[in-house]
């Protein structure tokens, strides 16, 4: 019965929460390697904490799914079929709706063209120009500034990324940051600046957009 030993649970709770002194840690670890029942209690508490974690995260996931359903209902762009009720003839209303739709579509199209002009390459293509390793373990090895700058670059937030990448190159000689700076310039249509960086010998092996 591993979960009914008060003394074991007390010390293991403290151990799991990182509250033990050095002497207590030694004592716990020594018992874990020699006392099977103590070890079973420890493993059960660990499983319990992960079970509690799953339960909590599941609850949050359900909450998000509820938000999604609510958003889906309020912002659905699916065409609503007429229910077959009486049709009221209001030609002026149709014209007004058509005019509004034309304006909205024009603005939308203008925005789309604007976006494309700014990025100069498709989002999928952009993935070829991400060279740093984004796996969790490696992410920790990046400095704070690198993390922010690289993240800005990854999400193509070039305006925010450029000054940080410049700083990384100037202060730390971060080659990846310099390469990303060149790509940022290219994506923003600043070809001369992009060439100045990307044509350098150090980027011979790097993929280039031109």
């Amino acid at each position: 019965m591993p979960l009914d030993k008060k003394a074991s649970i007390d010390i293991l709770d403290r151990y799991l929460q990182g509250l033990c002194t050095d002497q207590e840690i030694q004592s716990v670890e020594s018992r874990l390697s020699s006392d099977q029942e103590f070890k079973a209690t420890y493993e059960q508490l660990l499983s319990l904490s992960e079970g509690a974690r799953l339960d909590n995260l599941n609850a949050k996931m359900h909450l998000l799914k509820d938000y999604e359903s609510a958003l889906g209902h309020s912002t659905s762009d699916e065409t609503i079929q007429p229910s077959g009720g009486k049709v009221v003839k209001m030609r002026w209303l149709r014209s007004a709706v058509a005019a509004c739709a034309a304006i909205v579509l024009s603005v939308f199209a203008w925005q789309l063209i604007g976006d494309n002009e700014e990025s100069r390459m498709s989002m999928a293509e952009f993935q070829n120009y991400i060279v740093h390793d984004i796996e969790r373990s490696n992410e920790k090895q990046l400095s704070d500034l690198q993390q922010v700058a690289y993240n800005n670059y990854v999400i193509q937030d070039f305006d925010d990324a450029i000054p940080k990448l410049k700083q990384l190159w100037e202060d730390e000689h971060d080659t990846i940051a310099y390469y990303y700076l060149g790509i940022c310039y290219w994506c923003q249509g600043e070809e001369t600046e992009a060439h100045e960086i990307l044509d350098q010998e150090q980027f011979e092996e790097f993929k280039k957009p031109f």
Binding site: L48, M61, K65
Partner: protein, 188 residues
């Protein structure tokens, strides 16, 4: 906006705001940039928000070096890459492990042997246990709250009373393991 503190103090409201504010840009980015279809994009975004929440609760994320959007997108990017890797292995979507279990499994400090089964058993036992024990154990073992805070939050007289209640809850949980989970496993 101090999202970390907001999530800690008013978690559901904060999650709602994060969801509403970043859903559209993240979905658009996942679809266009990561080549993910809409259904997968929604799942990845939801999982990313939950991971953000978990990292804050577990104390792994105490300070954001950038903005919360960059952090979320970075998680979403990792998850979409994982998804592509799974599709490349030609695993059918209905054969995927529950993404939350899969996430906990890869993050867990527990030895991996039978981990999925052990997490699942604890999860089931907690459902049978019900409240207030479930909440008390969650506050202590997941959110790592102190007994003083738990007693205040749950209306116990003091920390000692809450601690005593925790022992009783653990004993009940043990009986559930023995009576329901182990027996069912033996039958199954």
């Amino acid at each position: 906006m101090d999202w970390i503190n907001y999530i800690k103090t008013n978690e559901n409201k904060a999650l709602n705001e994060i969801y509403t504010e970043f859903r559209a840009p993240c979905l658009n980015w996942l679809k266009s940039s990561m080549n993910v279809d809409r259904e997968d994009a929604v799942e990845i975004f939801q999982l990313s928000v939950v991971i953000l929440y978990d990292n804050i609760q577990k104390g792994k994320l105490t300070q954001l070096t950038g903005d919360v959007k960059s952090y979320l997108f970075s998680i979403a990017r990792n998850k979409s890459r994982e998804l592509h890797r799974r599709y490349q292995k030609e695993i059918r979507k209905d054969e995927f492990l529950n993404p939350l279990v899969s996430y906990i499994k890869e993050e867990s400090v527990i030895q991996k042997e039978n981990l999925e089964e052990r997490i699942d058993n604890s999860y089931k036992a907690l459902q049978i246990l019900g409240d207030p024990c479930k909440t008390l154990l969650q506050l202590f073992y997941y959110k790592q709250m102190k007994m003083d805070d738990i007693s205040q939050l749950m209306g116990y007289k003091n920390a000692a009373t809450a601690k005593n209640q925790k022992y009783k809850c653990l004993k009940r949980l043990q009986s559930i393991y023995t009576d329901h989970i182990i027996k069912n496993d033996a039958i199954g």
